[in-house]
Amino acid sequence: MSIIRLALPNRGRGGSGLALAMPAVLLLLAFFVIPVAMLLLRSITEPEPGLQNYAALVGSPTYAKVFLNTFFVAGIVTLITVLIAFPVAWALTIMPRPWAAVIFAIIILSMWTNLLARTYAWMVLLQQTGLINRILISIGIIDQPLQLTNNLIGVTIGMVYIMLPFMILPLLGVIRKIDPSILQAAALCGATRWQALTRVLLPLATPGIASGGLMVFVMSLGYFVTPSLLGGTANMMLAELIAQQVQSLVNWGMGGAAAFILLVVTLGLYAVQLRFFEAREGTR
């Protein structure tokens, strides 16, 4: 219900809106909805009809660990991304214009650079014989190289870096609309800086944090390249499991089941966000 309402905001002019949306709808139908339906069908028919693929996914401790890993990594990445993106977005808002424009351009440019190239760059920087370890050793902070790749640290660094723009942009949109004099008002009323942040700025920025956070979390759930290159097998994520099943084992039933579970989780989260925002819109 809420999805329909969001998709067709101008219900009075719904007819022409629908016609305009037709090309996109048909494209999605042909190249997304139907293939996904076929994948779902495979997940309950291969190698034989039944729910054995789902039972295997849910029942095995290995796959349970992969699911847990996936949510854990996505959660950590989202949390760290928020912590870094919030000050950046705030700084961009209060900074003098020319500087803000330069930094904004750098953030956007990083999004346009090839994902694989950026991930390989991190691999070279983070490995044991890489630049970061060599610098730390040469200035005497550590004796032994730190293990920064092929584990959770590598995945987290690489993914936070890639996700940052997706958090900064929605946050910026919301924070820019906040009237800075509101903070002065808070100070005049006797709020400390901390209180001004937690009781004024953060609540007002919550819609940005929520939509950016959800986007980052959902994108992280299905991420493949970065975990596969910077992570180890011990913290395998769901997308890698799907790739293994589809490409290496040619077991599309199992791959389809895992993909479908991921899709359901994602749609569920999306529904929660819609409801949350609808509720907020209503109170205004």
Partner: protein, 336 residues
């Protein structure tokens, strides 16, 4: 020279008329290996017959299955792992090969089946960065698993395939003749002893990067990749002790519209000279029994087929029969 070849190819194409102006697609794993396949297999075929060979890749078993099921096969010949080829043949994903076009008599019988012939064969070998081990050098598979004697990260092939499980069992003292059926639990127990020190390589380029940089100073590699590093003048050592052979295969996905061209491509690729030239360039062994005589002795000496005495052959038929089961257990163990 190149221009002339082009002109000749064009002339042949024109002379043959539209009916013979064939085009086919070959897919392989990229990198230096596919470059060599293009140079020594595809180009001579095009020059001799006018069949244009389009290169694609990387090979993806999921895609092959999808193409065959949808009856929309766009890869006419694929370079695949031999055990997958045997399994895919049984599952009906492949065209039977036409041995009136492909000369079976001169192919190593270890690498010929109704649906697949060898593309080249290779060995998994112990490779090490000599700078990391200034004293005693690693020599046996047991050394590969001995982190006290040879400390540091070690790198192994990530995907479920013949090689690493066999190596673990041999290192644990299993005799080569007792390897099959594979004792997976014993192999995992042995691998568990070094699991925290393993960095997995998923492709040849990464394996070279790990070894050359010293990120993983020791590991288990495709012999051709180690040979390439040595040829670049790097201080890399190799031990052939209990090198484990496996092979790639050339297959034709079922339902291709260019079956005739595909068979001719395979015939050209497995010919004695094509196999000899490819082997000399890549360090992988030829599967044509007539190739050896066409190669320089010093080049031949570096190939896996000169290491027969130290060699352990991975059992492709066993792998083909148990590929799914081994794969599921392998990935489950990795994620554990």
């Amino acid at each position: 020279m190149k221009m002339k070849a082009l002109v000749v190819a064009a002339a042949l194409t024109l002379a043959g008329g539209a009916a013979q102006a064939q085009q086919m697609v070959f897919t392989s794993w990229g990198g230096t290996t596919q470059d060599a396949q293009t140079k020594y297999w595809a180009k001579p075929l095009t020059e001799a017959t006018g069949i244009a060979v389009v290169q694609d890749g990387p090979t993806d078993y999921g895609k092959i299955k999808a193409m065959v099921e949808a009856n929309a096969v766009s890869w006419d010949v694929a370079d695949v792992e031999f055990d997958w080829a045997l399994q895919a043949g049984q599952k009906g994903l492949l065209e039977p090969l036409d041995f009136t076009v492909i000369d079976r008599a001169h192919l190593d019988p270890r690498f010929v089946s109704d649906y697949a012939v060898g593309s080249f064969y290779y060995s998994f070998v112990l490779g090490y960065n000599s700078a990391a081990f200034p004293g005693e050098k690693p020599a046996t598979l047991a050394d590969l698993f001995d982190t006290k004697k040879f400390p540091g990260k070690r790198t192994f092939y990530k995907w479920s395939a013949p090689g690493v499980i066999e190596a673990a069992l041999l290192a644990d003292g299993v005799k080569p003749e007792d390897l099959y059926p594979l004792d997976m639990e014993r192999a995992f127990a042995k691998l568990d002893t070094i699991k925290k020190d393993i960095i997995w390589w998923e492709g040849g380029a990464k394996s070279q990067q790990l070894l050359a940089s010293g990120e993983a100073p020791i590991g288990f590699f495709w012999n051709g990749r180690v040979a390439a590093l040595q040829a670049d003048g790097m201080n890399i050592g190799i031990s052939w002790d209990q090198n484990i052979t496996a092979a790639d295969a050339l297959v034709v996905p079922k339902g291709t519209k260019n079956k005739e061209a595909a068979m001719r491509f395979i015939a050209a690729a497995t010919a004695a000279k094509a196999q000899a030239d490819f082997a000399a360039d890549t360090g992988y062994a030829p599967i044509n029994t007539g190739s050896a005589a066409l190669m320089k002795p010093d080049v031949r000496a570096t190939l896996p087929d000169q290491q027969n005495a130290l060699q352990v052959n991975a059992d492709m038929a066993y792998w083909a029969a148990h590929r799914d089961e081994i794969g599921n257990r392998w990935y489950a163990w990795q994620a554990r």
